[in-house]
Symmetry: none
Subunit: 204 residues, 4 copies
DNA sequence: TATGAATGAGAATTCATTCAT
DNA sequence: GATGAATGAATTCTCATTCAT
């Protein structure tokens, strides 16, 4: 009944549908039936192209993670100062999350809560942490401060966690501005509570 | 076949089992069968005492949230300076999370990923954020700095996320000390990256 | 809606139904739905008591194989001469097959044709071959004839195969008499074609 | 994408693939997808050339049955004595089965177990039994022994079963020689257990 | 109180089969 | 002649939930 479309196109349609349904319903509550229906295609096609429900979910994860990483990477200028880099990275990040709330929900909320996908998720987070730790390290080197390498990773974890959490919050608050969220994060991360609570703020 | 036990005791057994299974498997993948089995009790009893699966989950959520809040609250001395309060709060938090790995963190994650529990969750979130935001606000007031209330909530989010992420990291690094993790968090939160990267650190 | 019956009873009902349906339709074409319906019970009960379709099939196999082996063993008198033992064994065997045509069909026809159950079946056949080879060996010893041990097993295989094949044929021919089939087999096995074709026959 | 080949060649390729897959997986578990893939051809071609799955299976059956019959028939010399005929027939049979294990499995094991193909199978069985029974009958006539026709069919069944079983055994014992297996069968069939157990053997 | 027995409903997954190109 | 795209229809299996005892 349906127009014949080339595989690549259909796969994207399916991934779009899957991301939406997973985000709306949660992994388990999402049914392959609904995904197929939203994609405007029959279930067997989904299986034929993207495999089982697990594989489909992982495909979603990967597509969204890659998009996110690419967006953030594109936002950071190599030549900038550390706090400019951080600011740009955060802004790209929150803007992306604001624009792809579904993708983010799938990526972090669902994946995190399903012990089943812990491994997959850990890998993705590791990629991100690595990037952030690298930024910190080079910033530190620029400041000629001696540091133990392990510390950067721990800090990076804390940063990423904070960002994830704020992003999560952003995803639930339509009215909130991504830019403002990024500013908050900058204050939080860069300035520190002590100074913040003394009235100091960070400005782009 | 089981010894007759007073209702309250039985209910705690069930909640213990439920928390464990929900944490291990995730909300959907957890089956009432397994919960009953782990509790060492028959399924109909679970229904009789704690109602449907949804209700059971909410009961778990509430118990764990309360425990966490009470622990953290107990650790904070009202008369201390803001950074001492923060330090004590964080230390209580990490200790609790380390000791109850099954509890709050996991349940919170589950709850978040099930759109179904949005309502329930909002209430609890509010209680916790209220506590953390309260800390921040009073610190701020002490410093006589004007602040917008919404900001505290966002900050609280970022803190909790960072703490969670570090807790995760802690779980993966046996050699790491909870106390040291709390210190890291203090540095991160209190001092801020800017100063940190210039070599400044926080000391208890 | 159904009368509550103890587990043991229900299990037998289910096995009866399963044997019948497997025999009628073949393993793959048999549906769990139909088996449950024939057993007069709902599908989940079948899964609860007897496990998956594969496990259910194996349970059928084992019940039928055990019944068969016990029947045959009971028919053989230890003190008899070799040909009497053989005759009694064969008579028991064919009588059993004649009386439980469904069981036999499940046992040998289905199991054999599903590569999946090759292992299970091989084990059962090995048990039988062992018994037969033992009979042959003791008969040979009684006749003081020197023999290589391996030969008995090969012979036993041939006998068992012949008997299986005749039993299969019997299962398809309602009009055929088990006793007569056993006689045929005796002639075939004991007398040999050469003598048979010269008009000699075996008599009980 | 494939070289255009004459229809007859393509059909043989498909049948080869189908026989292999049916033999490996069993009729139901065999998928048209796999058959097409093994044949190196797309599914619609299989349908275009050989029809539905059932029809395809029957085509396999017919080809294999014909091959077997022709091989055995070609091995038997009309002018020989009965035991020479039998010996030659058995030798041809075991050699064929050894060389076309897949075909044999499809023919006897799969077809037998699918009630669905009962009709088809009956016809083939009749052709084979007719050949074997014919051999027996003419041997019997040569010996001027009166016999009931029904007996030959039953005997033929027993023979075929014994041969199958030995063939199976042969398949599991690489070191065993087909020729020797045929000799075993000759002893079994021609000489009979009684004489065998008294030390008599058959020699070509 | 306590539980073994029982089920309705729904989920994932697979397959033979057919079009449109 | 040849194939990638597409699907209707089953089928296995699981689970929350409830009775009858």
């Amino acid at each position: 009944m349906l127009k014949r479309l080339p595989r690549v196109v259909r796969e994207q349609q399916m991934l779009d549908a899957a991301v939406k349904v997973f985000a709306d319903r949660g992994f388990h509550a999402a049914s392959m039936d609904e995904i197929a229906e939203v994609a405007g295609i029959s279930k067997p096609m989904v299986y034929a192209y993207l495999g089982t429900k697990d594989e489909l979910f992982i495909a979603c994860l990967q597509r969204e993670a890659t998009r996110l990483l690419e967006t953030v990477a594109a936002g950071v200028l190599p030549a900038a100062t550390p706090d400019e880099q951080l600011w740009n990275g955060l802004r790209s990040f929150f803007t992306f999350v604001g624009a792809h709330r579904d993708g983010w929900r799938v990526l972090y909320r669902q994946a995190r809560s399903e012990p089943h996908f812990a491994g997959e998720l850990a890998g993705m987070r590791a990629r991100i942490v690595e990037v952030v730790a690298g930024l910190l390290e080079s910033a530190c080197a620029a400041a000629a401060v001696p540091a133990r390498p392990g510390d950067f990773v721990a800090m990076a974890y804390a940063y990423v966690g904070a960002a994830e959490s704020l992003a999560d919050w952003l995803a639930d608050h339509e009215e909130e501005d991504p830019e403002q969220t990024a500013t908050r994060m900058m204050n939080f991360v860069w300035i520190g509570a002590e100074s913040l609570l003394q009235g100091r703020v960070w400005r782009a």
